[in-house]
């Protein structure tokens, strides 16, 4: 018995790391986490971001910051590029791209706060999000591997150290969420199986009913797609059929377990 994978850490090659770290180390302050210390419960607004204190994500409670501007000066990138961006950002305490469950959990937490004492501020966030939904296709770090046989795989936090997978039968007809009868794909994609709630959240955010796009039948060969969201004149789109080579914009989030 010995040690294997000496040239990798967390599944990724170590090559190039030394130079990056030494470069970063020239400016020691840049490596300090910038996550703000915030002890108030509920919701706060900072100059550059909003904070929702109790976001239920992956079975735990998180404090989630949402940046008031799109990531990387509103540039668009492929999912792989965003994953690389996010790894660095996360290490530096900056905003990064979340997986679909994180965004959905944040939207749901905002929805739950819509009638709270902070409803005016929550409405500001909703307005911001509606604008981004309408103007851009917004990337997530969720990827779907459609398998030619057997279950498909939903990969969350694609390319990150906390990447995780859920195997589920994901292929199916595109559908309005309100008409959906099989909850498992939604559970796998969003971490939520309350279909009426999902419907309500996106209707509240965009004024449009959510619609799920996906690969409709078993492919001849295994294919991978990226998951993104946005809205058009008729619908809010939860799209699980995006090309990995396409570039999308991204909302900046920062989650801290509480």
């Amino acid at each position: 018995m010995g040690i294997k994978n000496l040239n990798k850490f967390m599944g990724k090659p170590i090559e190039g790391s030394l130079e990056k770290v030494l470069e970063r180390n020239k400016n020691p302050n840049s490596s300090e986490p910038k996550v703000p210390q915030n002890t108030n419960l509920g919701f706060q607004s900072d100059q550059d971001f909003w904070t929702v204190d109790s976001v239920s994500y992956n079975g735990d409670l998180y404090k989630v910051d949402l940046s008031k501007k799109l990531l990387d000066d509103e540039k668009s990138h492929t999912q792989d590029e965003w994953a690389q961006f996010s790894k660095t950002a996360k290490q530096n305490g900056d905003f990064y791209v979340g997986d679909f469950p994180l965004y959905h959990s944040l939207f749901t937490a905002l929805y739950d706060l819509r009638d709270s004492q902070r409803k005016n501020e929550i409405e500001n966030v909703r307005g911001f999000l509606e604008k981004q939904f309408m103007n851009y296709w917004l990337m997530t770090l969720t990827r779907i591997k459609y398998s030619k046989k057997g279950k498909d795989t939903v990969v969350h936090n694609h390319g990150m150290s906390d990447q995780y997978e859920i195997r589920e039968e994901f292929v199916g007809q595109d559908e309005w969420v309100e008409n959906a009868t099989i909850i498992e794909p939604y559970k796998a994609l969003l971490g939520e199986d309350d279909l009426p709630k999902i419907n309500s959240v996106y209707q509240w955010l965009t004024g449009k009913k959510p619609y799920l796009y996906r690969v409709n039948s078993k492919p001849d060969k295994d294919i991978e797609t990226v998951a993104w969201f946005g809205a058009g004149s008729d619908w809010a789109v939860l799209d699980c059929n995006g090309y990995p080579s396409y570039s999308y914009h991204a909302l900046g989030v920062r989650a801290q377990k509480i």
Partner: protein
């Protein structure tokens, strides 16, 4: 692997995208040759779970019902009646050697129901059986053809890990994985199935047990001889050394002073919540992690995913090896986590994950430094406080990189 009468679809963890249930954990322990103690309330199904495991070993498993009036003589009789005969006739010393008798014992799995009922002398012999030997007159004789493992059950309450408890000390010493089944109770849909199938409250034996022992032993041997990824060793070293760090230098050296003599800010963090693991526990964690990977692999997890998620694998193994190993600050678990050790460990795991996320680039740089063959003090200086152990770890790893290059 298991042929189950026991039903429980409550998820213990999701590993590499695969749900891991209680019976999977038992299978993982069998593969890793890790002794498993199932703590839990009476009638919760732990005995059924253990008997399901027995059904895989055909006639190569031994079932012992713990009783406080059982002595070692009765135990030996149950193991092999020739023992008692030999002892009575004095043949162990004269004609037949103990080895001749122990060679005939081919139990691979020993299941002890209600282990806490046994007196300490019997318990000690049972633990020896779990570990694959019988002790006679101060000498240890191997049994089980090189593969032996034990599963024990019992309801010993929540405080058995306290150091004043003799049984608790013995369990911590000899059982590698201790699980409180009450925290992973079957789902209502499971109990509906269980109740609708039969109202017989007795534990059921599988009617026609299969002998899959050869396959299990072969898989176990393969797993145990596998190389382990560097990630896992580094995480294990963090649990051994990183979690030992505190303002006083070392929690281990603080002895009884931990946690009360810690600084205030440490008492409200993981520094005051958990002690480092022991080297033996670290070995169990690595072994269980490898076994859980194998279970996930058999359920469809890809090699790529398994490799990329080594952290999750080790940290989940840590959770189940450590919850009842006595490393938690019990009053703090009571105060902050409603007495739930698994929840306390989830909090520690979250902190550990953040620690590794923060250090990931530094660790990579350290490893690349080793690969280059040149020591860079600036890189070593990146590792401070609880990460100080990495400096020495990198020194130790240099040898492996040297070996790799020479190949």
């Amino acid at each position: 692997m298991s042929r189950n009468i026991y039903k429980n679809n409550t998820e213990l963890m999701n590993l590499h995208g695969q749900s891991i249930y209680m019976n999977d954990m038992v299978d993982a322990c069998l593969l890793g040759r890790l002794n498993l103690f199932l703590q839990g309330d009476t009638g919760s199904g732990k005995t059924q779970l253990a008997k399901d495991a027995m059904s895989q070993f055909g006639d190569k498993s031994l079932f012992v019902l713990g009783r406080n009036d059982m002595d070692t003589r009765e135990l030996f009789y149950q193991i092999n009646p020739q023992f008692i005969k030999g002892l009575k006739e004095g043949k162990l010393e004269k004609g037949i050697s103990p080895k001749e008798l122990t060679d005939k014992i081919n139990y691979n799995l020993t299941v002890v129901d209600e282990l806490p009922n046994c007196v300490s002398a019997v318990r000690a012999q049972l633990f020896n059986l779990f570990d694959g030997f019988i002790e006679i007159n101060g000498r240890a004789y191997p049994i089980g053809n090189g593969y032996s493992v034990g599963i024990a059950t019992g309801n010993v309450g929540q405080k058995f890990t306290e150091s004043t408890n003799e049984l608790g000390r013995a369990l911590k010493d000899r059982m590698h994985v201790i699980i409180d089944t009450d925290y992973f109770f079957p789902k209502p849909s499971d109990t509906l199935d269980i109740l609708s199938e039969s109202t017989n409250p007795r534990v059921e034996f599988t009617l026609s047990p299969e002998d899959n022992s050869a396959s299990i032993i072969e898989r176990s041997a393969r797993l145990i001889s596998q190389d382990i990824s560097l990630d896992k060793y580094l995480i294990a070293n963090y649990l051994l050394h990183g979690l030992d760090y505190c303002s006083k230098g070392s929690k281990r050296k603080m002895k009884e002073g931990w946690p009360t003599q810690l600084e205030n800010h440490e008492q409200v963090s993981d520094v005051g919540l958990v002690l480092p693991v022991s080297p033996r526990a670290a070995k169990s964690i690595l072994r269980l992690s490898q076994s859980l990977d194998e279970i996930a692999r058999s359920k469809g997890a890809s090699e790529e995913t398994i490799e990329a998620n080594a952290f999750n694998s080790v940290i989940q193994a840590y959770k189940f090896v450590s919850a009842y190993s006595g490393i938690l600050n019990e009053p703090k678990v009571q105060a902050d986590h409603e007495g739930d050790k698994y929840r306390a460990l989830d909090a520690i795991i979250a902190t550990t994950r953040t620690q590794f996320d923060d250090q990931e680039s530094n660790i990579r740089a350290g490893l690349e430094m080793l690969e280059s063959g040149k020591t860079n003090q600036k890189v070593l200086n990146l590792f401070k406080d609880r990460w100080g152990f990495m400096k020495d770890t990198l020194g130790g790893l240099a040898r492996h990189y040297g070996n790799q290059k020479s190949k």
